[in-house]
Assembly symmetry: D2
Homo-oligomer: 363 residues x 4
């Protein structure tokens, strides 16, 4: 069980969906950063269940408790611990699946791994776990914002077959993204996306989607080749989010169909430094940020917990018909937007500290 | 600079393309595993430059030297060190790019990171670095084969717009894959792929492609949620390979267009355990292997070093026309097949040891 | 700030003496271990302030809260989080030292490190931090007890110039140690030790001491050369305890005065395995446990916070006379006994899991 | 098997005493540091066997090979690999102990751990392994010297019952220490120490000793509480050296006999910063360096391999008389002086980088 992510800006999380709560410890946040609940709560609210008609009915206020590491509104340089109480857990919802591993959920694999079953089936394989990521990510973002002016904005770039179009990646903001409840950043396609989600819900089904993300003002030089390249850590971070199935940096899989002459990002002079004319690299070359916006996408599968009857077998191999009772989102991606942003912030903050470590001599 | 990958089965690599050689240390390989050069050399040969007309002319024999950790053909449990001498380095090829960062290569970012330039421009951002991965991966594979019977086979599933079809993932073998020099595993499409690569070469250009991989006989229970999920470590490993731009597990990005009822893998009884009827999960659920084959794909961009003239700027921002002289592959993917297999083996071996660690009580 | 210890059995702690509380997360405890508050609270009570006349008057009930990782009395294999609320913090006690770094305390160095000062002066450099160690150690001990029958017992082997004598290391138990409030395990010397402590207290002063520890039934084979030798990890663990100044394994510094022929532990047959006649090795040879009892000692300095007036300077370098008002122990060692036991348990549990990891092939 | 030490300035070593050689990789050394063989060889020569009549007759030139990471005399920021060929291995010396675990050596424990025996008995438990430490330590020292002016000097403070006296810790240099072959730094006691060693050798026996070390100009602020305190990492590093049995920081075990009023280091103004009048703290308070010299001692046991006949048992438990034939030092401490310096350099370099990581905001 690895509950720790990062090398210097390191987060450690704990908690099951039916334990007393979910918590997260952030190590390595530099001292003297101004952090209050007001820096953390907004992203938690964007992740919160029950925020609008597209989300699960599980109702958790998800108010952040700061347990340590901050005094008089400033980080001490010591571990910052956040805790989120579980209030609306309904263990009874899980009674009917006590002996049935839900298809494409973690019930079966957790049992094979640990030899024991938790009340909620899949132990920590619950969307509730992601509250810890969002809490810690908000701290990372505040550090990155104060130290470098980094801005991180994610949006829903597709739901099912509906795609968002024409997003202004150099200027898009969270408030722009939040103009529609589906968080597509593209009002034109939003209604179609919402419609797609509503259709899935009515069918007691779920639907997948894609989230794209831009990180602006990331300084050049971040990334630790050859194994901890910036895109490798981003891929690690994103694929650790529940339901994530794919990751692309910059041109991604489309690059596989291109010629080098078409794909290469030509250098140009931008003020006192070099930049690139195009950004197929997604802001990363050779595993190291080049100063251009970092651009990536994450594909999410449809939520496996659905109300429709599924033919499957129980733990003993007997045929059963399963209709899940647990509360769930018909489409996870609108709520996953702040999770993607949080994980991106954790990766960049960690790489920033790692880069700071050795540069005293250089400069 | 992170040259270390893994938690228990841990590899550490070193060496630039113009240093005395490339080396790799493998920690944590259990004692008593039978390993000789014959277990390592075949994969090195598949990665070797100059092996056929599709690859760069750089000619390196790439014979493995075992420096430590093995006596009388058995691992001692101590670190196994492998070393590969560099013979055919041609620093003169790099003279004309001393002051010009190659577009979409690592010259610019290495300079921004380290404040110093290596002879070869991009320091360790060289395809030559991957020999270390293949050497260490062969050791991991031998362990996985002896301990669990794991089989790992990758192939080129696309080059440019040409796709391989109808691959038998439950039985495909390396010798089958190697029937064509493009390693597509699909003789029908191979000629078209080779043709696509030859066209790129003639145009002094390069072309991208996709590699797919299957890992069979991986026991259920491997993966360390919530941050070191099996697919997250695979994504990390794959995106750390030079030129990799995207990663998909199982249904990948296609899942984003699906409904849950369509995507969920229904459980069925398979002998004395449970399996799934379909495998959209790609063998991993909730971050933990479920016993089905692990399936994933990696997208690679076209090699950035091309002979065609590119308009760009030098480090001072002056306009220049650049025609690279370094030897390079017109398409990296046929040689990247053993690299993908190696990185998969490193991830699975590490997760296997992590799972072994705590199971004494369970069983 | 490193708040994490261990590789597989890993603990992460947080909290200042004046934050909402102190917490600790234990990762990697195998699933299925029976753990309840009753396994944890006794050691916390032995560490608790205010337990008898030898200790500080700070009064904390130190009741453990289990926040996650345990259901129905069994570990799930997921992170186990413990939390201890701070109740009796008295920030006013620290007002007079706001501008004065206490001699031999951490006030000055924390300020130099972080550039910021916490309410309590030294941030996490508080004896209160050790409650996290004791909580996590109790979990490690339960695992070691169930898996291997390991027994860990520490005692106060000296206070000032008074030494405990003739301890039966093969049979000494915690209840035997607790027969006197000074925890010397030697009733004869206990009165003299207590007397020494009372004299220090009356002089508004403090006094140092030594704790010795035996770990019985540790299986042979634990320890990870060449850098994570068993004694190296024990030394690391022990010197991380506040006020610890020295560590010895087995014969320790006395070995420096001995000849090899005198010091070597001759092997003898003990039932179906080999043992040693003497135990100068302290149960560890070449960094690996040999099956004999592990024996070590830890030297502790006198508490730096004393009521006697000390001539020193403030942060600006002005001469001042300082008489500390904070509540403190005249001698830390009786309360440090469970801390030493806890840290030993964490080291051994971690090494046990690391050894389990690779042994499937061997056996 | 842990062959890695450090978090950011990280070393990884490999090699048995009878493999092709011993190697070490240094990660995280900042780029642009001037390093040549001339920076590394002198410390290797001080560690080299056969350097004078006090040492083993095994004759190894121990010339350093730099395999990677340095171009034109400057570090690239990439891994620096060093390799030392084994030339004078004599496997025949080990034939008579094939079935006999040498008392207090690692033969028995390596076998219990790995289930396999290396030619040389104890695998990596050979003094030869320490050449890797000295090589990597020289790189760390060069970095510390260039970045901070750090000076690290160790000496033999006792052999058997003979103690060195009156060492000027504020000014002692390596050339001063090397004035006698016993490296006591105190010419008066040197003859007695040498005499003690010669007596042990003549008796086909060995003798222990103590090494003390001072690290000057270490900046205040290094150390990562609560688990990676500076003294905890030093203790870890020192106890990982073969034959080390004890570690003391500053006043060490003597502090256990002192009162707080006697032990506390009173602060005084020293130029523009604070210092302490005494240095019982050994330069570290609360786990963090305070700017005063770091002072510590390490106790070493007598070499276990002795020529005298020892009564013991073989692996099957049969009584045998053993007279070791392997070449060995009668007293390890003179050659261990550069090893202690190297390990201190590795710890301080790592802590320096960790401290640099987060300070951009502070200053």
């Amino acid at each position: 069980m690895s509950g720790t992510f990062g090398t210097l800006f390191k987060v450690t999380s704990f908690g099951e969906s039916h334990s007393k709560g979910i918590g997260v410890i952030t190590y390595g946040c530099p001292p003297g950063i101004s952090i209050s609940k007001a820096d953390i709560q907004p992203q938690l609210n964007r992740r919160r269940p029950g925020q609008n008609r597209l989300t699960t009915a599980r109702n958790e206020p998800d108010q952040v408790n700061i347990l340590s590491g901050i005094e008089n509104g400033l980080t001490l340089g010591t571990p910052v611990a956040l805790f989120f109480t579980n209030r609306d857990a309904k263990p009874d919802d899980y009674k009917n699946i006590e002996h049935i591993p839900r298809p494409s959920h973690a019930d079966y694999t957790y049992y094979k791994k640990y030899g024991i079953r938790s009340v909620s089936g899949g132990g920590r394989a619950s969307a509730r776990e992601t509250i810890a990521r969002v809490g810690a990510g908000a701290i990372a973002e505040k550090y990155l914002s104060e130290a470098y002016g980094v801005e991180i904005v994610a949006w829903v770039s597709s739901v099912g077959n509906i795609n968002a179009c024409n997003l202004p990646v150099n200027s898009i903001s969270r408030s722009h993204v939040d103009k529609t409840i589906v968080r597509s950043g593209d009002p034109k396609s939003a209604d179609n996306m919402i419609n797609e989600i509503e259709k899935a819900r009515k069918a007691k089904d779920s639907i997948g989607g894609i989230i794209s993300c831009v990180c602006r003002n990331v300084p050049a030089g971040l990334g630790e080749p050859v194994f901890d390249k910036a895109e490798a850590l981003l891929a690690h971070a994103m694929l650790s989010i529940p339901a994530a199935k794919g990751f692309e940096i910059g041109s991604g899989f489309a690059s596989a169909r291109m010629r080098g002459s078409e794909h290469n990002d030509r250098f140009v002079k931008k003020g006192d430094h070099l930049g690139t004319l195009t950004n197929n690299s997604g802001g990363i070359q050779g595993g190291i940020s080049n100063g251009e916006p970092i651009l990536f996408s994450v594909g999410f599968k449809p939520t496996p917990t659905i109300g429709r009857i599924q033919e499957t077998v129980d733990f003993n191999g007997n045929n059963v018909s399963l209709a899940a009772k647990g509360r769930h989102d018909p489409c996870i991606v609108p709520r996953a937007v702040p999770i993607v942003e949080a994980m991106a912030a954790l990766v960049i903050a960690d790489l920033a500290l790692r880069q700071e470590a050795g540069r005293s001599i250089i400069q």
